[in-house]
Assembly symmetry: C2
Homo-oligomer: 514 residues x 2
């Protein structure tokens, strides 16, 4: 049994069922081994950013890792931005990077680079296989490292000769690390704080914006009067009818400060102390008001569910949580199309249990409000701010959850980063509806430039944020990759196209001209 064969069987033993890849010569033996193995689905991306983003989307929905298989340092580099997002999402991910044969590295052949340094910036765990015999053990360690709460990118660098040389038997799955228990005394202290009745906020984030955790937070909110705010950049949040609602902390500093104004106690559940996304001149970047005390109920790697449960018990919280969403589907809107109408139509028409991959950027700022009456669904958001996540993550989510409809709400500028995802959706016949918000600009940057005031944007910078001359034609781009597509200019047209896409399996793209 070669190193490649033992690697693949170890992945299967560890529950890894999918590999997203764009391989090269140094990974060819692993690929041949995957080809022979039953139970491993190998999915090709036409760019590594698609593969890593898909593995992230898969992990967020499946709660377990997919593997990637990338081609040396440049392949890893191409996948880096979405690994950055995966890191911020705490997604378990077994990131396999092929390298030159051990004895070839010293010659510094053209593709040689320092893979460890690149990988270290996005990984919770990095190891290089030393020899073929060690490969199965290394792979089992990688799987375990990826699953260690709260989840991490585990990068295994595999020199080519370790894949083609005789190896050892495949390794069994290692026991899973449980999340750390929260110190009961800490919970007790927080219960005391909440009993005081001073203005409190429960800031939920990381892996805890899920139905069960939110329900407990809603019960605590009911008994304590605390408000629930969610970190908008958490990897996955469960929303819609029957779930406990939360306010998303706004991107812009002023509304974020307003939302937190008067808070005496901030209880963190998987979230970090709130800071602004960027620092801006003449604006604070630390968002809690002066005198606000910060209490950590659970860090992302801790057992937040148990901590919330204990806290609810200590507070004698009633069984009925505060702020449960009710199903109140809006009417499909009419007239001139806007971002609001797109989201409203989605709330009107999406099936129960849909998945929304949201990279609408400026077109998604009010999405919480616009989907408040929607049926139960999951939303995946841009955790790390590295754009080009939306379509790959939708791709991976669709692989993880066959039978659930996936909607990708995608800004046009960001969408261009990893548009190759559409080909994989077509190739794998995935049930993804991509909605492009075609505002023909980097609208977020137009806003930034306006904020600078004074002379403002001159002719060159203005041109820079403008995606016209020529206009992108998303219908042509999608069809060029085999995805059925249509362009719409009115809300009525959008409703019709969306309804048709909901009722027809397979990938679709709707370009919404704003």
């Amino acid at each position: 049994m070669t190193g490649a064969e033992s690697l693949v069987q170890t992945l299967l033993n560890g529950g890894v069922e999918v590999c997203f890849t764009n391989p090269g010569t140094s990974e060819i033996h692993v690929l041949a081994a995957m080809d022979k193995a039953a139970g491993l689905r190998v999915i090709l991306g036409l760019f590594e950013g698609v593969c890593t983003g898909a593995a992230d989307g898969y992990a967020r929905m499946a709660g377990k890792p997919a593997a990637t298989l990338l081609h040396l340092g440049p392949g890893l580099g191409n996948g880096l931005a979405n690994l950055h997002n995966a890191r911020r999402a705490f997604s378990p991910l077994v990131n396999i990077v092929g390298d030159h044969a051990t004895y070839h590295l010293k010659h510094d052949a053209p593709l040689t680079s320092d893979i460890e340094s690149i990988a270290g910036t996005v990984s919770g765990w990095v190891r290089r296989c030393k020899n073929a015999a060690g490969v199965p053990g290394d792979a089992a360690d990688a799987i375990a490292a990826s699953l260690k709460p709260p989840g991490a990118v585990a990068t295994l660098i595999v020199p080519a000769d370790c894949t083609w040389t005789e190896s050892a038997a495949p390794a069994s799955a290692l026991p899973k690390t449980k999340p750390e228990a929260v110190d009961p005394e800490k919970i007790d202290r927080i219960a005391k704080v909440l009993r005081k009745g001073e203005p409190a906020v429960i800031l939920m984030g990381g892996p805890f914006l899920m139905e069960k955790e939110l329900r407990l937070a809603g019960r605590i909110a009911r008994v304590s009067g605390a408000r629930i705010i969610g970190d908008r950049l958490s990897g996955r949040s469960q929303r819609g009818s029957g779930r406990v609602s939360f306010q998303g902390l706004p991107y812009h500093v002023k509304p974020a400060l307003e939302m937190l104004e008067g808070t005496a106690h901030l209880i963190l559940v998987g979230a970090r102390p709130p800071v602004s996304f960027f620092a801006w001149p003449n604006l604070p970047n630390w968002l809690t008001p002066a005198g606000c005390e910060i209490h950590i109920l659970a860090a992302p790697q801790q057992d937040g569910l148990q901590a919330l449960e204990t806290l609810a018990g200590e507070l004698n919280a009633p069984g009925d949580p505060a702020g449960v969403y009710e199903l109140k589907r809006p009417e499909p809107p009419r007239g001139k199309i806007t971002a609001e109408k797109v989201w409203t139509a989605l709330a009107a028409l999406m099936p129960e249990d849909s998945i929304i991959s949201d990279e609408g950027i400026t077109s998604s700022r009010e999405a919480d409000r616009w989907t408040a009456g929607a049926p139960a669904h999951d939303r995946l958001t841009l955790t790390g701010g590295a754009i080009g996540q939306g379509m790959p993550a939708a791709t991976g989510a669709a692989v993880a959850c066959p039978g659930r409809k996936v909607f990708c709400m995608q800004a046009d500028g960001s969408g261009m980063y990893t548009l190759q995802a559409l080909w994989t959706q077509a190739h794998e016949k995935l049930d993804v509806v991509t909605v492009i918000f075609a505002n023909r600009s980097y609208k977020i940057l137009e806003g930034e430039l306006e904020q600078l005031g004074g002379p403002g944007a001159g002719p060159k910078a203005g041109k820079l944020f403008d995606l016209t001359h020529p206009e992108l034609d998303w219908v042509g781009l999608a069809k060029g990759m085999g995805v059925n597509a249509a362009k719409v200019h009115t809300a009525g047209e959008f409703n019709r196209r969306l309804e048709a896409a909901v009722n027809t399996p397979g990938p679709h793209l709707i370009e919404v001209v704003l």
Copy 2:
């Protein structure tokens, strides 16, 4: 004057005239300053790999750096593969990466990452600006570092507050470092070796595959009987009529060994000792024959031109070099289209002084032979093996050389990596003709899998290298980004489309269905 304004003026003082960028909020002040400055051309890429590849192509043709302006670690990550190629091409490049404000970094906001570690893998020089006052000096140092022979990527990390704070006056250009002189005794020793008349090869590479250097090598070849071989992966080579010809060292091990067989002395001029691109099981990776002595005439950072001149003098080389290409344009071919016929048609129809960005991979293996009768031209090749270079490099070359026709000979699989370059070509009305070799597969990997022998490719791996189901439609993709495009199935059609593209300025794409 802000740090941003002083940065931009320092770039101009140092001769930097172009910036390829996809900026974000943290770079907005630099962008506003560029907007106000006369003389700096700001060019938008819809993905950072386009920007870095264009800056590389620009540098290879202009011999001086362009700037990039990238958005934190993820923006740098997206540009990393083409920076890897730029490093291997010794391209001078001022790689500006925006970062969070100095006081914001400690909060580890979502976009924060370890930029230095990523940048270090592709840069000859990395520095982080400490404050606004230091920015102009840092920028002048970056320019100088990029231009230090043989040329390098110089990465300057610029925290946002260093751009918006009051700074110092712009810095002047620093004196350029001259290439190191080669020790005359070393040249003398190599002259003695060549006078012996034993079988010798002059292996040219790095920055020295240029007309003048090749001419001197041709004169040395004439007097000594040495053969000239070129490193096919050098950034730029000057070829075609009136230039001294060289054989390209083959990609595959067996023909490379055959080409070097019997060589007693290998004289390196900018090239490194030849090793295989990958290591393969049961094949050597060191390519020189046993007993072959290696002599370094000039390393890439040295004055190779002067060393060749001195060597030619010592050998009393005649004025007329050996192996000069003659203009012998082939007839435009007819019938079924093949890669050979595409290159032959190019040799038949391309204008004098064209630039060829070659990422044809398997479709370009014999391009040297097929373009032997072509007029004088420059060829840019995939230096670092990180695919997705072809179209961005063509874009940058067209910016560097207005008035010269640029041909991008592009494999379909690699082309999908950075297809967004087409939009920049349309936006900037660049004179680039892209030829897509649409073999609908990762053909190089099909070959690798066949070499494995034994059970060979099963159904899954076979499917992996197959870019059909659905087929990519490059005409749709190109038109979706505003580039005029056509699909051809015969040599006759290709000739007609190529001729039309040669005679009509602006970007064109021809999809050749192989």
